[in-house]
């Protein structure tokens, strides 16, 4: 048995804080930037995700029970505090596309009893469906609550014939009792990375993007390889002064928009959000 494997890789079982230069030697570290000033809340990303990742439509009753299965959801807030201070939301609504943050120090990873979710070499939180036993500990521990559990055997009802012909053969159809979540369209990345490896190169910037980023009509979602210093994402992280390996970002000046959500929980997310702008003089 692979006892040797276990011993050899024992250090991998430890959960470490991300450190400076962690991905210097690896070809890929997938990351994202979401510009909240560009996001118009149109839900194109959500539907694209349904199409790409075989997400089941659960129906009204189950949605009402909190059993929705949208890996990316558009949240709409009215204010930062607890109530609306003005009579009307004068500065519009606050849209937030929320998906798995692919944390570098993910709270979900160390608690999975079977290691169904773990950190991949390219910096993603994997979710191995067939390994999952459904303890839901990962979801309990996820501060963003972006993990979705198959409360029902959705394949039974979600794709009445011939809707199932639309299913993406590269993505497993999940049956009941399995946790699932955004994978950064791993199937696309995997296909791209394999092809690039055959060609003896690494993926070019923008060669493969997630379904949400591809659909986004305002290009609010930028997806790319943070390990490649010349990629758009890496440059954006740099100009926004967000460091993957820091939990408190030091900004040299005001007006730099980048931030990561719930960073103070030391999750080190891989998604940087850019602050929404409003012309307060108007």
């Amino acid at each position: 048995m692979s006892l040797s494997n276990l011993i050899k890789n024992w250090s991998n079982f430890r959960t470490r804080r991300p450190y400076e230069g962690q991905y210097d030697d690896s070809p890929y570290k997938w990351a994202m930037v979401i510009d909240l000033d560009s996001c118009i809340g149109c839900n194109a990303c959500t539907v694209a995700c349904y199409a790409e990742n075989n997400l089941p439509v659960v129906g009204k009753e189950r949605f009402g029970k909190g059993h929705a299965m949208h890996w990316i959801r558009i949240e709409r807030y009215w204010g930062e505090g607890e109530t609306l201070e003005t009579e009307f939301p004068e500065r519009g609504a606050q849209y937030l596309p929320m998906l798995c943050q692919q944390c570098e120090a993910a709270p979900c990873e160390p608690v999975c009893p079977v290691g169904a979710t773990h950190h991949s070499p390219d910096g993603l939180n994997t979710q191995v469906y067939n390994r999952c036993v459904g303890s839901r500990y990962c979801s309990a521990n996820c501060p963003y609550k972006v993990r979705y559990f198959n409360w029902w055997n959705y394949p039974e009802r979600a794709w009445p014939n011939p809707l199932e012909l639309q299913l993406n053969p590269d993505v497993t159809v999940r049956s009941k009792g399995v946790m699932e979540k955004c994978t950064f369209c791993m199937q696309r990345l995997r296909a791209g990375m394999d092809k690039a490896k055959t060609d003896g190169r690494i993926l070019a910037d923008g060669e493969v993007v997630t379904a949400c980023a591809q659909a986004c009509p305002t290009s609010a979602i930028t997806f790319g390889n943070l390990a490649d210093k010349n990629s758009k994402v890496a440059k954006m992280w740099k100009t926004q002064q967000v460091d993957l390996a820091k939990n408190v970002q030091e900004k040299t000046e005001d007006g730099i928009r980048g931030y990561r959500i719930l960073e103070d929980l030391n999750t080190y997310p891989s998604i940087v959000y850019l602050e929404r702008l409003r012309n307060m003089a108007s």
């Binding site: 029970k65 909190g66 999975c112 009893p113 290691g115 559990f149």
Partner: protein, 489 residues
């Protein structure tokens, strides 16, 4: 009260004693033959009332099984669990049962180690309770799993997939700890029963005799057997002590290592262990009263023993209360704003009833144990012990549900989430399952340790002798060591 403490002749004789001596744990009139007779009587053909209760429990259990089968077939969705309420009653009740399983071991192992003899008449059924509560708790681990049929993925064993479970997960620790604890508790219970099984063997006929013969492993009560037995039993007790503490500490890490507000607390391990002992002790009081009444064990389950048990329960309750309050205090004065909001939510939000119910049942009710009338009135005590356990169940509920209802992420807050009938059914079924197991146990195995009560009687007499009390003649006549009676007890 039906049972009165016999007067002590030594009071007149013992001039050197300045204080009123302790009440004796057992009455003067207990003799060895009576012990066998009384205890073996409890194994006789049950009365109709037994079957009525037993089948009610079975019905309850069957309903639980039906709920679980329904959930298994249809999906976890029937439980109305959702994102973020992913755990619900299953984990709450799991912790409740695990907690119940702690005092039996404490009574038998810890008190055994420190030679507190009053444990002897009551430790057997407490241990049985431990074993069955653990078995019930283990069921909840399975019930809770989304893919029950893949539960073996959690177990570390060489397999064709060449993968191991994730050793950093508290759930793996849980599985390991509970497995170990269950095995050792079962072994400890069984081992302690061997001499008694021999007695049963010698008094039984037919299939029962075969069963006892098989289980008593050829116990003859020889000197060597007694010697080995004592050593092994003490070793097991020493092994179990830290294990019992570790199990609930580990269960507490399910919460303590997580991110969630209200869980992220360093005092959780002692808090959980004490909570476990608390609920376990009140469980023991409940069963004490029930067994005492049903099997007419008045002679062995005496008021002094109960008094000690109550004192211990009260002490544990107070430590637990302290830990609970200190947890609130640290949260309140701490810097974690979300945890503070969560605390306020618990006390004032959708689950305030459960919160204050817990405070009342588990923090206020123990003070009634200070009243002598309560301690001596078995009916009242029964009700109070049940209330204490309701409080402890509510405590588990309000650790889990409000935290999920209001965690770090406002978008996924839930308002007034409530479990479905399936969850309640399975929880009810678990009580049926426990009752069933315990009732069967009581009718198959002696629920009071015969040989140890005998020891106790003997020691009490020896004690009296040494200190000049006059022992009844029929007891001193039997001699000091059981094996002197031709290997039979």
């Amino acid at each position: 009260m039906s049972h009165t403490v016999p007067s002590h002749p030594q009071m007149d004789v013992q001039i050197e004693r300045k204080f009123v001596p302790k009440q004796k744990d057992l009455g003067e009139d207990v003799n060895w033959a009576q012990i066998n007779k009384d205890v073996l009587r409890s194994l006789e053909k049950p009365r109709p009332a037994f079957w009525i209760i037993f089948f009610s429990a079975l019905a309850l259990f069957s309903f639980g099984v039906y709920c679980e089968v329904y959930q298994y077939q249809t999906g976890m969705g029937v439980s109305d669990l959702n994102n973020p309420q992913v755990w619900g009653l299953y984990i709450a009740t799991f912790i409740f049962w695990i907690g119940m399983g702690h005092s039996g071991t404490l009574l038998s192992a810890l008190l055994h180690i420190i030679h507190a003899d009053w444990r002897k008449p009551i430790y057997r059924y407490s241990e049985a309770m431990t074993t069955f509560t653990l078995m019930t708790a283990a069921l909840f681990v399975l019930v809770h799993m989304g893919r029950l049929w893949q539960f073996y993925y959690v177990v570390a064993y060489p397999n064709e997939r060449w993968v191991w479970p994730n050793f950093t997960s508290p759930l793996v620790w849980d599985a390991t700890a509970i497995g170990t604890y269950l095995t050792s508790s079962l072994l400890f219970l069984y081992m302690g029963m061997i001499p008694d099984l021999a007695i049963c063997r010698d008094n039984a006929k037919g299939a029962r005799r075969a069963l006892y013969k098989f289980l008593s492993l050829g116990w003859q009560g020889t000197d060597r057997q007694w010697g080995n037995f004592k050593v092994a039993y003490m070793t097991m007790a020493c092994f179990l002590m830290p294990l019992a503490v570790s199990v609930h500490s580990i269960v507490s890490t399910d919460f303590a290592v997580s991110q969630n507000p209200g869980w992220h607390v360093t005092s959780f391990p002692p808090y959980f262990v004490l909570g476990a002992l608390y609920s376990g002790c009140s469980g023991i009081i409940t069963l004490f009263i029930v067994l005492r009444y049903v099997f007419r064990f008045e002679a062995y389950m005496t008021q002094p023993i109960l008094n000690k048990l109550i004192k211990m329960t009260f002490a544990i309750a107070m430590v637990w209360t302290y830990l609970d309050l200190i947890e609130y205090a640290t949260t309140w004065y701490g810097s974690d704003e979300v945890a503070r909001q969560d605390l306020v939510y618990r006390a004032t939000g959708d689950y305030a009833l459960q919160f204050w119910g817990m405070i009342f049942c588990a923090m206020v009710m123990p003070f009634t144990l200070l009243i002598r009338f309560v301690r001596q009135n078995y009916v009242v005590l029964l009700i109070i012990s049940l209330i204490l356990n309701v409080g402890m169940w509510l405590e588990r509920f309000q650790i889990i549900t409000p935290t999920f209802a209001k965690s770090h992420y406002p978008w996924t807050w839930t308002a007034g989430w409530w479990p479905s009938w399936v969850q309640w059914g399975i929880v009810a079924g678990s009580f049926g399952w426990f009752t069933m197991l315990f009732m069967l146990y009581c009718k198959i195995f002696p629920s009071v340790s015969m040989y140890e009560v005998k020891e106790m009687v003997h020691e009490q007499n020896m004690h009296d002798k040494l200190h000049g009390a006059q022992a009844p003649a029929h007891q001193t006549a039997l001699g000091a060591i059981p094996e002197m009676n031709g290997g039979k007890i």
